[in-house]
Symmetry: C2
Subunit: 545 residues, 2 copies
């Protein structure tokens, strides 16, 4: 016997409909790609998204056709999110930091039919254009300007499309909540990117849980500045969760340096933000040099890679900003865990609480985690046993786009590729990527933990630890670091970092100073590159003799 409640589909169009009805004048403030700011609101965004959607029909876009974006966080990008998914097409967000050949690969693999892009990426698209097999339309996300139109005769202009749209268009009524809504390719450190195809349903359930207090904690009282880009996992889902609960949005456009972000925070009284650790490092640098404060910002979600404990502490102590340490993946829409303490932890003292806040946190309802050994046997969730982290839930990938194999393990678990521990309270600690972890004399050493400690040292601007081959122990940790300007890093600094903080056999045998730590398009350290360069460097180190 079924329940007798209304049968309504969980559709992305319902989010912007709600925002336009009940938060019609709630602002969306954007930094324009070409400079200056633009102010609009949810009612206007819905109206323009509908006009744009009507244009997709005129252009012959069929249900589930892919329409791509290469764009910063701004109001037009938000309009595209709702126009495309609301109309039943698939919004394929492309990370502009990918290599050109990766971009060509994914556009052809996704069979994108239109591409919308910001002015920054016009030269990039011009270069890619000839190799794209399926794209009928290239749309610059700007009003028409004659000079550009003349120079690029194949180019269309966003505002022309809006202008040509119907004023009385309605969302299609035949969409199913399981229909595909959006597509994002992973930026693996090796191999071709793989596509994750979200559904309307997975997106909405993720957005609902994202808004809850122990996840991103969003309300109509808040003002959110997503530093995390809309071209990567839908700005961690905030592009859906914020309109869903009527949060004011501030879109930083292309300017992600510390000064620009700090200025926007204070000008727009931003209360909550989200981004990767490198962005926050830049912000803190600016604040320390300028002496500026953040009087309105209350909390920020930090994820994408492990957040150094020193950064969490500085935000809390010096700027009264709560850092929510989070972990996610493109395959998880992306939220997997967020670090929020529990009622019982009120009884802990400050140091104990601070310590607890440094792990990746616990899963919200909708996500289930497990750790498994290499034979897929479940391991204890006791905070000690480290194993392969698997995941399942309402917003977890089942198969990659156009994948022919089975992308799950043990029947129905998604293997994250991370090595982790989970404690009795569900708090999860990423120990390493399984391909990065150091296997030294049969024991595992976490490069993440060694990096976090190194990043707290005043002479170090950036750092990575890799597994270097070793004649006796198979692998040993090697610290690679970028010195802060004016600093010189020495062996005795090594002792300052690690003495008494980790087991003696974990301490890197030595270090190498480098100019830069190489990162991929989403800011992850490309350890495979580092291993190519430095992986053999301990083999003939005289100290090992």
């Amino acid at each position: 016997m079924q329940g007798l409640m209304m049968d309504r589909q969980l559709l992305i169009s319902a989010i912007i409909d709600h925002a336009a009805s009940y938060h019609s004048d709630t602002e969306v403030v954007s930094v324009n790609t070409k400079g200056g700011q633009h102010r609009t609101n949810y009612a206007e965004i819905r109206k323009r998204a509908l006009k744009l959607a009507s244009v997709f029909n005129k252009r012959g876009m069929a249900k589930s056709d892919r329409i791509a974006t290469i764009a910063w966080n701004n109001f037009r990008h938000l309009e595209l999110y709702y126009a495309i998914s609301g109309n039943g097409q698939v919004c394929h967000t492309i990370n502009p930091r990918l290599f050109a050949d990766q971009m060509t690969y994914i556009i052809n693999h996704a069979e994108d039919r239109m591409i919308f892009f910001d002015a920054t990426f016009l030269p990039l698209v011009d270069g890619l254009r000839e190799n794209l097999k399926t794209v009928d339309a290239f749309v610059l996300m700007e009003p028409r300007d004659d000079e550009t139109a003349e120079k690029y005769p194949w180019l269309e202009f966003y505002e022309d499309l809006i202008e040509s749209g119907d004023d009385d268009y309605h969302w299609p009524e035949d969409l199913d909540e399981n229909d595909a809504s959006s597509l994002c390719y992973t930026s693996g450190t090796t191999g071709n990117p793989k596509g994750v195809l979200y559904s309307n349903r997975s997106t909405l359930i993720h957005a609902m849980m994202s808004a809850t207090p122990d996840v991103v904690n969003l309300s109509a009282r808040d003002c959110l500045l997503p530093v995390v880009p809309m071209f990567h996992v839908n700005a961690w889902g905030t592009a859906y969760a914020a309109p869903m609960v009527g949060t004011k949005m501030v879109m930083p456009g292309p300017n992600l340096d510390g000064k620009s972000i700090a200025t926007l925070f204070n000008q727009e009284k931003v209360t909550v933000s989200a981004g990767v650790p490198t962005i926050w490092a830049g912000l803190i640098d600016f604040l320390e040099q300028s002496g500026e404060k953040l009087p309105f910002l209350k909390r920020t979600v930090v994820g994408g890679s492990a957040c150094p404990p020193s950064m969490i502490e500085k935000f809390r102590t010096d700027y009264d900003v709560e850092v929510l340490h989070a972990w996610g993946m493109t395959e998880l829409s992306p939220l997997g865990t967020v670090n929020n303490l529990k009622n019982k932890h009120d009884a802990l003292d400050n140091d104990e609480q601070e310590n607890l806040r440094c792990n990746q946190g616990r899963p919200p309802f909708g996500i289930e985690l497990g750790v498994f050994d290499d034979e897929d046997n479940p391991l204890a969730e006791d905070g000690q046993a480290q194993g392969n982290l698997y995941c399942r839930g309402y917003w977890v990938l089942n198969n990659y786009f156009h994948s022919e194999g089975d992308d799950l393990r043990n029947g129905n678990w998604f293997p994250t590729g991370d090595v982790a521990t989970i404690d009795e309270d569900g708090f999860m600690t990423i120990r390493d990527r399984s391909k990065d972890i150091i296997k030294s004399g049969g024991e595992w050493i976490s490069t993440v933990e060694l990096e976090n400690l190194a990043l707290g040292h005043p002479a170090i601007a950036d750092a990575a630890v890799i597994a270097a081959k070793h004649p006796k122990w198979d692998e040993r940790p090697l610290l690679l670091l970028v010195e802060k300007p004016g600093s010189e890093f020495t062996e005795s600094n090594m002792n300052e970092i690690y003495d008494g903080k980790v087991a003696k056999w974990w301490v890197p045998d030595t270090f190498r100073v480098v100019d830069e730590i190489p990162r991929n398009a989403t800011g992850k350290v490309r350890k495979n590159l580092l291993r190519e360069t430095f992986g053999d460097s301990l083999m003939d180190d005289p100290k090992l003799a």
Copy 2:
């Protein structure tokens, strides 16, 4: 093309599974029906719920069979919620404040097969038993005691059932999220109660949105004491939302007086509560007499009937407790609107904010509201136009249980029976029940507004306003009031209440002092009874001549 995310059903069993995995030792504290307190946790509750579910199978309960509860808020009631719905049966919660003939009616109408009840209700059930046609088992929610067993040989004991359950039982895997999960009958002021049959899906979507900051705002940092009973609309859904996010729960059992509630609040450091205005009036009375404070309580949801503005102000000013004024219905699972201000309202001064907080609030994502005239034409949402309030959404009733007609209007709107206004920001104000509103000289007068003002007067303990027949104006407002002990209410008090607060023609022509305002099982004023007694009393009033 469908998205490629995991296909997982939104099931009530998933809530308690999550709570038991990630909030295993989070406490559920209960006041026992027979006195004393009991402490358990989510892991234990799940374990016992599974044992109990295995017993349902042994007893031959089929999928969607109804199993009833007549019980206070306590841990066994919570176990039953998950055992019954988790196992695919339908949890039919019965309001013990219904009249005996209404109870007999709904138990037979629902075709309940088992009834679980607290010791308080043993005499009640004993009295009903002979008229119940479908019930095979009567289970007292206590351990076995020989004296009671001897006196009532037809009785079974809850702890015996648990004892006989299987330790290794698992939830059935063939449940669909649209399967019925629970059943609650409305307590209309007239006519037979009507059943609202919730589904797993509607319950979970409601719970997810309930937990968000602008609705009940629940997290694992919180401790919730639901004063609102689990026998009425699932304690406003908190019995699902709290375990979903790992909130500690404190269950008050049968003791809902001000002193008991205040003591529990402070003993267990309760941070959030929910209940009807009459409960809070009792609490405030106790606090004022005893001088006690509420140092831990941060906020409380008030709904069920309109909350007098004087109460909202007192909670905020004297006790630093935020009152979230809410509106809901059994047919809405029940949350329809909650009053939370928006980002832009930060610019308002205190008085303006206070004023805004007095209406019923705005709908969360998932609920859509509209006001319509008597011919079903939509009216403006401008805060002025008052009309029939209709509603639709993911957790709104489509049809009553065993209903033969169409229970919706205009195709797909549920008619709430309320008259309301909605403003541009979505804030809704209930003006009246459509059958209670006063039609005076062709204009409408809100009894709710007149009552709210009266309840702020120091000489008035309780009040209701009804439409009394009038020879010239068709209907005129009549104030019925209960005097506070030691007070005497006079005509000049009437002027104090209304002068300058409402239009002159709204002011009740006179008042009557009564011993008690009659209320139904959920605390709603039975205005039909009052109209029977007092509806003609103005017709021969000398003042009208």
